[in-house]
């Protein structure tokens, strides 16, 4: 089906296979494409390209931001990074957080989007309600969720104790092993609205006739989901996976307001570490090194995902 085939775009000719002359000719022919890109390119070159280059520059210096002397230190920052236990810990924590939060958010978001795509009464209101966490001020979210997680009076413990699932109140945010799951739960709650909106938009691009045809063929609800909905939602899913991973890896404020990075560094993430290095210890050179490492990780990860997508593997 032409529509499904369009969901996976592939470049017919491998880059550079036909030589530079061909490419230049193609560039001239497709000049309007570059023209369409130019506003974005200008904005990005001005603001992001420069900061990335500057970042790289700072990694080779001892840059304490406001001190005039910024001595060149070669690869010292990188060497320190490799031996830094706290950095390694923060990377592990960040992987844990991302690995838990992304799939959960997408699953719940998909479920809610599917339910709210049907012609129910009041679905506009329901959709807004599910999106509210995304726009509720963080300071309020932190207050309310800390109440929910309160050891003696929190709602979660209250119900868990009442239904005899646990015997002693759980310490949630103060427990070394529960703190990250607690934060992940809040993050999923926060992110579902986002996934829901993306999936809702994607669902609109699925033509009704497909479902009609499938029904005629006797396909049940689950069969329709598997053969039509999910494959047609692949672009949205790809988007969500890539974006969620990029954003999840850079999580900072949401965790920090809940646990201050504790208990004993169990929820300290890479970006918190960057922030601390830059603005608490005034070690911008080192912070830049950490940031650059993060950047490389994300770049490789994303490039792999895009490549897998092009090969049609999922």
């Amino acid at each position: 089906m032409s529509v499904a085939a369009n969901a996976v775009t592939e470049q017919a000719v491998p880059r550079g296979a036909r030589g530079l002359r061909h490419n230049l000719r193609q560039m001239r022919r497709e000049w309007s494409a570059y023209a369409f890109l130019s506003p974005a390119v200008i904005v990005f070159s001005l603001f992001t390209a420069f900061s990335l280059l500057f970042l790289l520059y700072m990694t080779f210096h001892e840059w304490s931001i406001i001190q005039p002397q910024k001595p060149y230190v070669g690869l010292d920052n990188y060497k320190d990074l490799i031996h830094d236990e706290r950095f390694k810990r923060s990377v592990i924590n960040t992987f844990y957080y991302t690995g838990a939060q992304v799939p959960l958010t997408m699953l719940v978001g998909l479920g809610v989007a599917l339910l709210l795509n049907q012609p129910l009464r009041g679905r506009g209101i329901l959709r807004t309600m599910f999106f509210l966490p995304n726009i509720t001020p963080l300071v309020v979210v932190a207050i309310v969720w800390k109440w929910l997680y309160n050891g003696d009076y929190g709602l979660f413990n209250y119900y868990l104790l009442k239904t005899h699932l646990i015997h002693d109140p759980l310490l949630w945010l103060s427990d070394k092993n529960l703190a990250m799951p607690a934060v992940v739960l809040m993050a999923v709650w926060n992110g579902v609205g986002f996934a829901m909106v993306v999936y809702l938009a994607g669902l609109q691009s699925i033509p009704e006739e497909l479902y009609e045809a499938a029904k005629v063929d006797g396909a049940g609800w689950f069969q329709r989901l598997r053969s039509i909905t999910l494959p047609m939602l692949r672009p949205s899913t790809i988007f969500l996976v890539v974006i969620e991973i990029i954003f999840s890896f850079q999580v900072f404020t949401q965790i920090f307001v809940m646990t201050s990075g504790g208990p004993v560094d169990r929820t300290t993430t890479v970006v918190y570490y960057i922030y601390e290095s830059a603005f608490k210890f005034f070690e911008m050179g080192y912070a830049s090194t950490v940031a650059f490492a993060l950047f490389l990780m994300l770049l490789v990860f994303t490039a792999l995902q895009i490549r897998i997508q092009r090969r049609g593997a999922w």
Partner: protein, 322 residues
């Protein structure tokens, strides 16, 4: 002709009544199931916001009482009065902030402009990534994505420097020296956000599902690229554009870090910045902060409620008037 057939097929797609018959068989069971999950879930999702509204109508001494009051026992509009500076009471005089309306006007202006610019620039870029083939396409796309991979904490200072040295703005000469560039101005808030890889990516994914035949047909008819983009592609993207508008507006409205760094004069303050002034270490004016937060969140709720109407199947079909 393939394209004509496709066009005709779509125009003849069954409208709403057929949908109703499809759901008729198990509609009640389905509805009960759906509501059964959605309503309790929605209540959990909405809880903090509900508490926020409730707290904004409470005295500061009641806000942190235990158990939290979902419906204020002694409701008061004092916090709102103080927030807007209404009334001559000493409390209002002492705690009110200046220029509150200004904050909201600034935020509205900046967020709307950013959203409009991104709707245009992002969709242009997304279109070529989705539908055109040209040398370097995938590399440029990856480069665009990489703009999201640098955490703001480290890009703050370089971007600040760039802002300060933009030539011919804010008293700068052609080399960008001498003045303060785009610092402390609307330009400084808007321009770095005039395009965003996030929106480009979102729209590109959606545009991939537009049938190539439509575009080919328009090209055969002699339409220019821009016309194809404007007349054929964009109207088909309403759901995605609506989603992008929601996200972009929300992000621009809530943005705190960048305005914090480049805005110094009260004239250009945005709402999050203004509200943060109520958080003074250990002397936060909680009630006023709650009231202000409610007011500050309303525009985003409105934007969402308005744009989510585009998430209704059927609009993409009727948009076809090639």
């Amino acid at each position: 002709m393939v394209s004509a057939t496709v066009v005709e097929e779509r125009v003849e797609a069954p409208p709403a009544p057929a949908k109703r018959s499809w759901h008729f068989t198990s509609s009640t069971a389905k509805k009960v199931f759906a509501y059964g999950i959605l309503v309790p879930g929605a209540c959990l999702f909405v809880a903090p916001f509900v508490w926020l509204i409730s707290a904004s109508f409470q005295h500061v001494g009641d806000i942190f009482s235990w158990p939290p009051q979902w419906i204020p026992k002694n409701p008061t509009v004092e916090a709102y009065k103080v927030f807007f500076g209404i009334g001559a009471s000493e409390d209002v005089q002492n705690r009110a902030a200046e220029g509150v309306t200004r904050w909201f006007l600034n935020s509205a202006f900046v967020a709307t402009t950013i959203t409009v610019l991104q709707l245009l620039f992002n969709s242009m870029a997304a279109y070529v990534f989705a539908k055109r083939r040209f040398p370097g396409r995938n590399l440029i796309f990856l480069a665009f994505l990489s703009t999201m991979m640098v955490p703001p904490q480290v890009s703050l200072i370089p971007n600040y420097l760039i802002m300060k040295h933009i030539p011919l703005f804010g008293g700068n000469d052609i080399l960008g020296l001498g003045g303060h560039g785009m610092l402390d101005s609307y330009y400084g808030l808007i321009l770095p956000n005039a395009a965003a890889a996030f929106g480009i990516f979102l729209l590109r994914q959606y545009m991939q599902s537009i049938p190539d035949e439509l575009l080919d047909a328009a090209r055969i008819d002699g339409a220019s690229e821009f016309k194809i983009f404007w007349r054929v592609v964009l109207p088909l993207c309403r759901p995605a554009l609506a989603a992008m508008a929601i996200f972009t507006f929300t992000y621009a409205w809530e943005d705190f870090l960048w305005p914090l760094i480049i805005i110094s004069s009260p004239n250009h303050q945005t709402a999050p910045l203004g509200l943060a002034l109520f958080v003074v270490k250990n002397r936060t004016s909680w009630d006023v902060l709650m009231a202000g937060s409610v007011i500050a969140t309303l525009p985003m709720v409105v934007v969402f409620a308005v744009f989510q109407r585009h998430f209704i199947r059927g609009i993409s079909l009727t948009g076809l008037k090639a």
